[in-house]
Amino acid sequence: MKKVLVSLHLFAILIILSDNAILFQFLKNNSNYIKDKISSVEFLKNISSTVIRDLDYRKPDISESEDCLENEEMIQSIIDVIGEKRFQQQKLFIDHYRENGSILSNTIFLGDLVHEFMDTMIDTLFLPFVGSNKYCYNIMDTQWCQYQSINLFVFPISVRLFDYNPRLSTSQYRQLKKSADVSICGKDGIVFNLVFGNKADSRQPYYLFVYENEAFVCTGDLIRSG
């Protein structure tokens, strides 16, 4: 009886040792081959669709659609505002959420950047997410999910929804791009541009605008100018 007990325990230990992150990573990397092999055997087809259903990690771990590259000019503009030490910390935060985060990453980047760079300039941040209550809003090539998180990141700046056209024309885009004070790459190729404006003593309302895959946070002069 003792032999059976010892064997069962050793088997259980072996199973637990097999359930390790290294082996799992190997299986993930070779999932297509393994799944194809298992599926080729008729009676194992069912197993491949239940037990190892999710091992089909055909997507690469890190998104390859990054077409935004931070250049030295962009980095220097950030360091000029918040300093080298803070920049390093912010970079780590953005890298974490850019590489591992989710569809919410760009939303919280917006909140983070507004708080970090424009805390003293903004009294209200207007967002164009009006209409039916949706989890994600698409504006041109950008997607904004669970916009309510922005409130938490920018507090005490107030966040309001407002019905305006957030899409920039090409000429408006060119004009704003020239006057952008800070530009930072977000997730999935999105570029954030912050336009500080006239740096008036009093806080002003700012708005979110979009042109293709670029987001702008700037004052409402564009709306007023039509």
Partner: protein
């Protein structure tokens, strides 16, 4: 980055200030290992107090609340030790300047420094809300400012992990990524220490091999490893819950009541980390019945510790939670609070009046859950199918848990024989399987048909327990069970 390191070291130091007053009957090694967990708990209590009183959170106010809590605990210890004032003073002197304490602080700092400067993290969707509520509080926000999804934030993202993010911001840190890995690796050391103390009597070489394998198996176990870098409450819940159960086993071996108080303290904090822990606190106290026998004071003290930590915050969040919100609504909270109070009352009465019933509470609880699961098809036939598809087939028999589930099943069969050597090994069998059964029941009652069901993530909270159970049981099978565990 250095600011985050300051924060992590302060977590240890805050824990150390409180551990002088708490669990004094445990051996110093255990107290030093549990110190950062106490730090996380007490810092969270302080943030919780400030939230309750609508006071904007600042470091000064947090430390004032900590000081008040410390003084209260000090006087509690003083009045309990009337005529032993000297022993309290000597405890101070013996605790701080000891080599073990300094080594422990040094080791914790090394681990924290490594993770702070490595800078590895793996945030997910939920991480954004932990970050968000932390920043909101750190920027001076209170509940009067009515942030969006308030009920969800209170019940789903606070108290502990959100509070840690808030404090890290107040220390000047940018985002909190090193706390989880530091606490998890530290706790892995704690699990290993407890395993060494609790394992069967083995020859020296076999002992080292088994301890080494245990450490390796736990560290590399994919369900543990992936949680090391994830910014979420699941990793903390896993540590606090698993340790609470192991505390019960440690008490069953040593008879040292401090283990029960520590276990109830950890269980209470676990309910502040995640509200679903109020379901599994029932499991914890059901197992309690199996080991405290007729000791009424142990039962009272443990429930009191648990209620004191867990209930004030939940009653407070109940006030802000309507009956018609997603995630957790008021009726869920009321049901969970009533269930815990009901079990406490039942335990006290049963222990006094019908001891036989009290002693067999785990068995009765198991039968009750099985009966409920069996009855589910009568009322909601589709829901049991849902539990099968979403939880059993997809999660337990899926890639995430297939190995651990098989190991648990094997261990269940061996328990009947192993308990002849160590009757208390049933604590692990009950805790693992009752946890799984409770989750099946939860999935079948909570009509949520997505494969990304939170039950799948909650299941990972017992990973350390399963690994601990397998290795501990093995040590008893290949060696001889110890009869006395005086040193722990």
């Amino acid at each position: 980055m250095v600011n985050q390191l300051y924060f992590l070291i302060s977590v240890y130091l805050v824990g150390a200030f409180f551990s002088i007053l708490l669990f004094k009957n445990l051996k110093p090694g255990v107290r030093y290992f549990v110190t950062p967990l106490l730090g996380v708990s007490f810092l969270s209590f302080s943030v919780g107090c400030l939230i309750v009183f609508h006071v904007p959170i600042q470091l000064v106010s947090v430390f004032v609340v900590l000081l008040i809590l410390w003084i209260l605990l000090y006087y509690h210890s003083y009045y309990r030790a009337v005529g032993e004032e000297k022993s309290i003073l000597s405890d101070f002197k013996g605790y701080w300047p000891s080599k073990e304490f300094i080594s422990s602080l040094f080791l914790f700092s090394i681990i924290a420094t490594f993770f702070v400067f490595w800078g590895k993290s793996s945030p997910g969707s939920d991480s954004t809300q932990f970050e968000g509520i932390g920043r909101f509080l750190a920027n001076g926000g209170t509940l009067k400012d009515q942030p969006p999804y308030l009920a969800f934030l209170l019940n789903g993202r606070l108290l502990v992990v959100g509070a840690m993010h808030c404090l890290n911001r107040l220390y000047g840190g940018y985002s909190l990524y090193a706390l989880n890995p530091t606490i998890l690796i530290w706790s892995l050391g704690f699990f290993t220490l407890l395993f060494r103390d609790l394992m069967g009597d083995l020859p020296r070489e076999r002992k080292f091999i088994l301890i080494g394998l245990f450490f390796l198996a736990m560290f590399l176990c994919k369900n543990f490893f992936t949680q090391i870098f994830l910014i979420h409450s699941n990793a903390f819940a896993m540590i606090y819950f698993s340790l609470a159960i192991i505390c019960l086993y440690s008490f069953s071996k040593s008879g040292n009541k401090s283990w029960l108080t520590l276990g109830s303290f950890l269980m209470g904090t676990a309910t502040l980390i995640r509200i679903d822990m109020l379901i599994f606190s029932l499991l914890y106290f059901v197992l309690f019945a199996n080991i405290v026998n007729s000791d009424q004071s142990a039962l009272k003290k443990s429930w009191a510790t648990f209620f004191l930590i867990s209930f004030p915050w939940r009653l407070f969040t109940l006030y802000y939670t309507p009956f018609d919100v997603f995630y957790v609504n008021a009726s869920h909270i009321i049901l969970l609070l009533i269930a815990n109070i009901g079990l406490a009352v039942f335990s006290f009465v049963a222990q006094k009046k019908t001891f036989h019933l009290f002693r067999n509470l785990p068995l009765l609880f198991t039968v009750g859950i099985l009966a409920l699961i069996s009855l589910t098809p009568l009322f909601r036939p589709e829901n049991l199918k849902l539990a099968w598809e979403v939880f059993i087939k997809y999660r337990l028999l899926g890639q995430d848990w297939f190995f651990l589930f098989t190991a648990s099943l094997l261990m269940l069969f061996t328990t009947f024989k192993v308990k002849e050597k160590d009757s208390n090994i049933t604590i692990f069998a009950y805790s693992t399987w009752l946890y799984i059964l409770l989750l099946i029941l939860m999935v079948s009652m909570y009509n949520y048909a997505e494969k990304d069901h939170s039950a799948g993530r909650i299941l990972n909270h017992i990973v350390p327990l399963v690994v601990f159970w397998v290795f501990l049981s093995c040590s008893h099978v290949i060696g001889e069970s110890k009869r006395e565990f005086q040193k722990i």
